[in-house]
């Protein structure tokens, strides 16, 4: 049978053009590109919503939107950013890079790969259309707590079903990645030689298939409680609103590591490259990632310390949550040790990576503070939490994505981007981001609760600062858009290796990477050289 397959390969495939190329593609690079562009559009959309939030919060009093719409913005901002921005972006990177990194001709299931992507625009069309429905878009927060969420208008079933669709997409994407990594590695690419980006994605994929179905179950119960008279979250019938929180956070906490583990992977590619020194503690990086993933399943109730759990529960979830600091610390220390006695240069990807290490760690510290139950009684649902998660998400997940784009853009397009513009983008982003999110710690500690369109006067100054920062940060991202388009259009020719210190199979193929890489199995000697480095 292999003769037929080979014959087919040798045939020149039909070269599709225009919209058809993108609609019907089974090529991992095309699909990766689709994912990345889609996520960028979602990032602008979610960011636009954030700017509406920040504009309303610019000063006390209500000036722009009514409270219901404000809550819709908060809810949609988070859903769009998480499910439309960060998750698809990392899947896009996985699509582009994993086959190239492990020496595979494509993803394991190319047609399903196409489907994973093309569900997304449909699902988001459904979700975003709720903005125009009777009763408005969902406004109960991205956490969708019952019973409040049951007060949603016509948007309700659309929200639930769009989450189902997003879940189907994620699970198929995750399955594809697992099959690819487990089955498609070139001979010689043993598990413990895989680049860390591949490792962290493998672990992330397992998190996805374990928790996304749980989210699907949770929202299904919301649906039946609303429309079919079930009592899952209704105490009168023997249910409990807090049950929803437990199920949601069993998904929700691993979800935050779904958003950050691939980012850790990206860091572990970039930092050694620009330190010109092998990654310190490769094996411990792998074990640390796995430990983080494991622990993430037993910490969920740290989001619910104030619901009135028994003391034993509060203690358990406090201790288990604190433990996550250890493997995460190992990662941070390893990155620092990688830089130690390297020969560092500071191209844009490295700048973003350094900012990641510092600012993510700050977000991690506030996370650790939140884990301390008695103190969390004060922090919970205040802007301190908002500050915490934006520190791990924006200079965490988003910076890692941006760094990854700068890092691999020359490989994708064959052109170097403008380093000067990149540096502008970096400094504008890094400064304005802190202006936006740092003051949130202060107002949170001083007592400002989250999810409000208006606030007491003592919070006015810091909120004004935050808003100014947010607009600068947002505008800076337009610079990034410009830079990327410019780089796609043209620029200095990039070499195959692109960066002096780069190692890995993806740097052995020409830039831009041809549509089909590794239809021919890469040489195992090359693999050995590129992965020991």
């Amino acid at each position: 049978m292999s003769t037929t397959a080979a014959a087919l390969h040798d045939h020149h495939e039909p070269q599709l053009t225009g919209i058809k190329r993108w609609l019907l593609t089974t090529n991992h690079k095309d699909i990766g590109t689709l994912y990345l562009w889609f996520s960028f559009i979602m990032f602008l959309l979610g960011g636009g919503m954030a700017l509406i939030i920040r504009a309303e919060l610019f000063q006390p009093g209500l000036q722009i939107v009514d409270p219901q719409f404000f809550n819709s913005m908060t809810t949609m901002h988070a859903l769009v950013m998480i499910f439309g921005g960060v998750m698809p972006a990392f899947v896009g990177l996985a699509n582009w890079m994993i086959p190239m990194m492990i020496g595979a001709p494509d993803m394991a299931l190319p047609r399903m790969n196409n489907w994973s992507f093309w569900i997304l625009p449909f699902a988001f069309a459904m979700l975003i259309s709720t903005l125009f429905m009777r009763g408005g878009a969902p406004a109960a927060g991205w956490t969708m707590y019952a019973p409040l969420v049951l007060q949603t208008g016509d948007a309700f079933p659309f929200m639930i079903f769009s989450i189902h669709l997003l879940g189907i997409s994620s699970v198929m994407g995750a399955i594809n990645i697992i099959a690819t990594v487990l089955n498609m590695r070139a001979p010689g690419m043993s598990l413990m030689r895989m680049p860390l980006f591949v490792w962290t994605w493998l672990i992330t994929a397992y998190l996805l298939i374990a928790v996304i179905p749980v989210l699907a179950g949770a929202v299904t119960m919301l649906l039946t409680d609303k429309f079919f008279g079930t009592s899952f979250f209704n105490p009168a019938g023997g249910g409990d609103p807090v049950l929803f929180q437990h199920i949601f956070w069993f998904f929700g906490h691993p979800e935050v590591y779904i958003l950050i583990l691939p980012a850790f992977g990206v860091m572990s590619q970039i930092i050694p490259t620009f330190a010109r020194k092998p990654l310190f503690g490769y094996a411990s990086m792998v074990y640390a990632s796995a430990s983080i993933a494991f622990l993430s399943f037993i910490v969920w109730a740290h989001h619910m310390f104030t619901v009135g759990m028994p003391l034993a529960g509060e203690l358990f979830f406090m201790f288990s949550t604190m433990l996550i600091a250890i493997p995460t610390g190992v990662k941070v220390f390893n990155w620092v040790a990688t830089m130690w006695r390297g020969a560092m240069t500071f191209e844009t990807p490295m700048l973003f990576a350094i900012a990641f290490v510092v600012l993510f760690t700050i977000g991690g510290f506030s996370g650790l503070m939140l884990a301390i139950t008695p103190a969390d009684f004060q922090y919970h649902d205040s802007y301190f939490v908002v500050a915490h998660f934006h520190y791990v998400l924006v200079p965490g997940a988003i910076f890692a994505l941006i760094a990854a784009v700068y890092f691999w853009l020359p490989k994708w397009t064959g052109h170097m981007y403008s380093e000067a513009l990149g540096k502008w983008h970096f400094w504008l982003s890094a400064v304005s981001l802190n202006v936006t999110f740092f003051p949130m710690h202060f107002v949170g500690l001083a007592g400002m609760q989250r999810r409000v369109p208006d606030y007491a006067l003592q919070f006015a100054d810091f909120n004004a600062i935050s808003s100014v920062g947010a607009f600068i940060f947002g505008t800076s991202q337009l610079l990034f858009l410009y830079l990327v388009i410019k780089c796609i259009r043209g620029g200095p020719q990039a070499s195959a290796r692109v960066w002096e210190g780069a190692h890995g199979l993806e740097w052995t193929v020409p830039s831009p990477a041809p549509a089909h890489t590794f239809n021919t199995v890469p040489d195992s000697e090359v693999i050995r050289r590129e992965t020991l480095a």
Partner: protein, 272 residues
């Protein structure tokens, strides 16, 4: 009007941005130390953990930036090739672990204290509604609703044209505060009539969700008379931001007098 105020804020915001550091002390930038034994403990815990994090941060970032400065290629650094050391790895696994244990002890102690419901002297049941609170003094048969004060309510409407700056305690004032005696261990019960709310008064070091169909209990013991303001902390719909909590702590005599005056106005109904 709006534009003018917006412009003013923009200006103030930018100025503050530049002059931020020295002025910090004048603003509320930290958790209040509060007025209950528990709130003090929480504050101390918060400061301890925070300081430890700052110290670790200073160390880690210090090493990193030193390396960035020292081991940069433009300075002629040559890359080393080491990439493993079991000893170091063990050290930086064990030391954080020990630090965490050090944090866990005081945290556990405080938590256990908070859960201690013995020696209760009185009980108030708090019910959250969209969007107000209902207080019910179980032993004394006094009960009433507590809503956002009319002044704030008028001003906070979209395009009201009113200036929040003119309203005393904007959004933190109610028509009728919860009056509590000082020096007494008070049991508080929270529940809700519609969706989940959360009763939060930072100065008392308490925040507890009010969940429909269930009752959560916790306690507080206020040390000084005064007015302590808080908010509903759990998203509860459109007016979540507009259902503040105001606790007025008074001494025992005043409290008894207040109770008496309330008994006269509260109709005698079962306190459910």
């Amino acid at each position: 009007m709006f534009i003018a105020r917006a412009a003013w804020r923009l200006l103030v915001g930018s100025v503050i941005l530049l002059a931020a550091v020295p002025a910090l002390a004048e603003w509320a930038i930290n958790m209040p130390r509060g007025v209950t034994p528990i709130s003090h403990e929480i504050y101390d815990l918060h400061m301890t953990i925070f300081s430890i994090c700052v110290a670790i941060g200073a160390l880690v970032f210090g090493v990193m930036f030193f390396s960035i400065w020292k081991h940069r290629k433009s300075r002629g650094a040559k890359a080393d090739n080491f990439h493993e050391s079991q000893t170091v790895e063990i050290i930086w696994t064990v030391i954080p672990f020990l630090i965490l244990i050090g944090m866990a002890f005081p945290a556990t102690k405080t938590l256990i204290k908070m859960e201690d419901m013995s020696d209760i002297e009185m009980t108030v049941k708090i019910t959250g509604y969209q969007w107000m609170w209902h207080y019910d003094y179980l032993e004394d048969g006094v009960s009433f609703y507590s809503r956002l004060d009319a002044n704030s309510n008028k001003t906070r409407q979209l395009d009201s044209g009113l200036n929040p700056g003119d309203v005393p305690d904007y959004l933190l004032n109610v028509d009728k505060p919860l009056v509590l005696p000082v020096g007494v261990k008070i049991r508080l019960l929270t529940t809700a009539a519609d969706v989940i709310h959360s009763w939060w008064v930072p100065q008392l070091g308490v925040k507890k969700d009010a969940i429909p169909g269930f009752i959560n209990e916790f306690w507080t013991q206020i040390e000084q008379p005064g007015v302590y303001r808080g908010v509903c902390a759990e998203l509860c719909g459109k007016d979540h931001g507009f259902m503040p909590v105001v606790v007025k702590a008074v001494n025992q005599d005043e409290y008894q007098a207040w109770l008496q005056s309330q008994r006269d106005v509260t109709p005698k109904t079962a306190s459910l």
